[in-house]
Symmetry: C2
Subunit: 152 residues, 2 copies
DNA sequence: TCTATATAGATGCAACTGCATTGATATCGG
DNA sequence: CCGATATCAATGCAGTTGCATCTATATAGA
């Protein structure tokens, strides 16, 4: 558990499982959305953050912090969301470089419809397979892998 | 824990952590490889499978089964690996449609150099943060999320 | 055998990603 | 106040992915 350059078998196995399972789950969730003719998960993440932010909206750089998407990715994703009428870009008074992104009613509606499908995927893919206790344990272990390290 | 359409808060939290942490870890590992001017993780996955397969090599469809990559993805990845001399494609006698992919010495060498970096990432990102006991617990919990469900 | 269907793998095209850079505004130091 | 530097966001270009389709061979069924 101390700093080494070579991973233990337990570390390798946990890593491999993490890589494989997370990819599988993402794929399943994406497929479920596609089957319902809904946009991809990335759109949900952004709409979710914007919905939580409320009327004040968020600056693109705040979305970057919250979602882990790259800057150029957010820039283009927002362009697509705006083109679809799911968000609106507002000039912000005190910073001429920036803008504020606000979710529209249509955006909220889309998010709602996505959640109906996405939430079901989560329920089926993890909720139905682990007890709440095990889910808590899993979340706690994963929490210790966050970067930068979170306080205990 | 029974089949529901709406996920519990514990399920949502575990899901969110899983999505976020796995993305962070992949990104870190990819960055480490890039910093060493090495190919991306996907190449490692394929070289690893081929190295394990030995002289007999593997058919592309076997790689697809083992790696979860899409068919077209494997097809093009193998083309790049072949162009770099890391694998070779052999016609297979008893099936005119197919081919067998075998790793070359150069491929083995590349895999080795990738593992030096990749293994260190694993050691630092997970090995240094959780005890082996916790890693085993994590792997076991993740194992129960595999699809299709593995036998207990 | 001859036709229909299934499987292995490749590929054209459109969309998306990653990288580097750019344009624009803000802030800091003198 | 001015120039240097930093931050916010967009974008050109190359590489990759996803989708659908295509070619080729194999297998099954009449």
């Amino acid at each position: 558990m101390t700093k080494k350059t070579s991973p233990s078998p337990a570390a390798i196995k946990a890593w491999a499982r993490l890589m494989r399972v997370s990819r599988q789950l993402v794929e399943r969730a994406e497929d479920a959305l596609k089957d319902s003719s809904l946009p991809p998960l990335a759109w949900y993440d952004v709409l979710h953050e914007l919905a939580e932010a409320g009327e004040g909206g968020l600056r693109p750089f705040q979305l970057i912090e919250r979602t882990l998407f790259a800057q150029y990715n957010v820039s283009r994703l927002l362009a697509r969301l705006e083109a679809d009428g799911l968000v609106e870009k507002l000039r912000v008074a005190d910073d001429g470089r920036g803008q504020t992104i606000r979710i529209t009613d249509k955006g909220r509606e889309t998010r709602r419809r996505m959640w109906a499908v996405y939430g079901r995927s989560i329920a089926e893919l993890v909720g139905a397979r682990l007890s709440d206790d095990d889910l808590d344990t899993l979340a706690a272990l994963l929490g210790r892998l966050r970067h930068p390290a979170a306080p205990a």
